[in-house]
Point group: C2
Chain length 291, copies 2
DNA sequence: TATTTTTGTTAAAGCGGTTTAATGATTCCA
DNA sequence: TGGAATCATTAAACCGCTTTAACAAAAATA
């Protein structure tokens, strides 16, 4: 690859001048500009990104950091990603998707600052080491995740035995939903409602209900913690859900990030993206309302 | 941020030694290693990624380059991305998603080599400038896209007027499929089959057919150029489709890329990921077979 | 015409790492 | 016990770009 020195030599100017031609940070006479660009073209020169970043202390790359071993993007992340990418695109930023495992990053030879100007952390654990780390190194971050407890407590105590988690490498959501529902409903016939993660999982639950002769919503209520506005209405009965606005979550997050990066004085902000309850027909009216 | 010099000073060794401690490319006595690491820890030092990349001429970042203005990821890309990410992850590479527009990148101040060791180009046009460009700069690339004509010609001449394209910023696939099908079928009642892009679009077509009183597959055949193995069987009638194996497309592409990057001598390879026809019930048996 | 301003260019000093060549200290082996 | 081989460390050069300070030439001002 040709370097800035080659171009400088070829066009008979100093490297400082070539730099200015490309960065446009200083005015260069038209005549010289053209001579330099011509030389650059014939040498097939392009400024080296890393060298530039090093000197500029800025990469024009934003990071999307996702926790965990063997992570997999789902519908929710897809929308979020699309939102993020759109804004990145508009502002001339590239997006670095970082899914490397903590164990890898903890090895001495892999320790390094991330090559980014700012970062979005998706669903970090409470007290996640990465947060502390970014704050120390002064990299602006935006965290997407659950609000702290006060926002989400309804005064009910969760029963752990009623919670089923889908392992990452598990079968598709659909069959997982089917099998789990079948098991749970058989073991605990007193269950009257199920909250699932996705539409596909709900489809599995519907199938299990049908097999067990349970009618939705009369005997079993189903709701998804997500919403596919095309698919859900086609269910029989139409599936209720929660519209999470993942796309907006992404755009707001990245805009907040850009705002922080440009702000002269840093600050901490909290933004709540509202989720909407979409009631269709898969949930019975709670008994408590008949009191 | 602390630099390597700070750490060197603090631990009383030269920067070369500190570098060796972190890169592990040269053996350093246990005693010195520990002294250096301790100093690094207390200074909160992490090697600078850009400086390292500059000196190493390698970034351990792979690129995923997607064409076009305002691109949006769909189901297909999601699977592909998951495949790519998994392999990246296993090999300790980060993934840079590059969706910047050509117009942006063509401005003088934005011209720069990409900060990557290798790249996947998704669906480039024929003679795409990026291909030529990567080859010139010696960056290994893998192209995901349609094979050249001989592989896909059935000897039929496409009629342009029968082709409908969904604009990027258009309404959801579902309603686009519905409206387009309605229009086309009304305008040209002799149409007996429709090929759509996604399941959602097919759903729209089903709806249009129902409204027009056309029965599937007797009067109208529908097939999707994609396959959602959970959803498609649930259609009435079950939707036929083509399993594109996007996930495998992603993993094979990135593996090919890594292989090329490590190969002592470069070569050009072509890999065909087979697509499978999944016949369910939405297509009539072609008349020609009754002859 | 002398003086100030403006404009364009350059040499040299960073940016924060890695690497090479040289050197000193140990260990190994006969 | 001397010489070779091994190991640990360092100073200095280098990676390719940006930027600062200095300066010369041209233009503007008095």
């Amino acid at each position: 690859m040709a370097t800035i020195d080659d171009v400088a030599k070829a066009s008979g100017v100093s490297k400082g001048t070539v730099s200015s031609v490309f960065s446009k940070k200083r005015s260069i006479s038209k005549e010289v500009t053209e001579r330099v660009l011509a030389a650059a073209r014939s040498l097939n020169y392009r400024p080296n990104y890393w060298a530039r970043s090093l000197a500029n202390r800025s990469t024009r790359i934003l990071g999307l950091n996702i926790r965990g071993e063997s992570f997999k993007f789902g519908q929710f992340h897809l929308s979020l990603l699309n939102g993020v990418l759109r804004i990145c695109y508009e502002h001339g930023y590239r997006l670095l998707v970082n899914t490397l495992s903590p164990s890898y990053l903890n090895q001495v030879e892999n320790i390094a600052s991330d090559p980014i100007d700012g970062e979005i952390l998706l669903d970090p654990m409470e007290g996640d080491a990465r947060i502390e780390d970014r704050l120390r190194s002064g990299i602006p971050i935006v965290i997407i995740g659950r609000p702290p407890e006060p926002y989400e407590k309804a005064g009910l105590v969760p029963k752990k035995e009623l919670l089923v988690c889908k392992p990452q490498q598990e079968a598709p959501s659909h069959s997982f939903g089917y099998r789990s529902a079948l098991e749970m409903l058989t073991a605990s016939p007193q269950i009257t409602a199920i909250i699932v993660d996705t539409d596909m999982m709900a489809l599995g639950v519907y199938k299990a209900a049908e097999q067990l002769g349970l009618s939705i919503p009369e005997q079993l209520s189903v709701i998804a913690f997500s919403d596919n506005s095309v698919l859900s209405p086609e269910f029989t009965p139409p599936l209720s859900g929660v519209r999470l606005n993942a796309d907006r979550l992404g755009t707001e997050a990245i805009q907040l990030l850009l705002e922080q990066m440009n702000a002269s004085e840093k600050s901490a902000k909290r933004v709540l993206i509202p989720a909407e309850l979409v009631i269709r027909g898969s949930c019975a009216v709670p008994m408590i309302m008949h009191k």
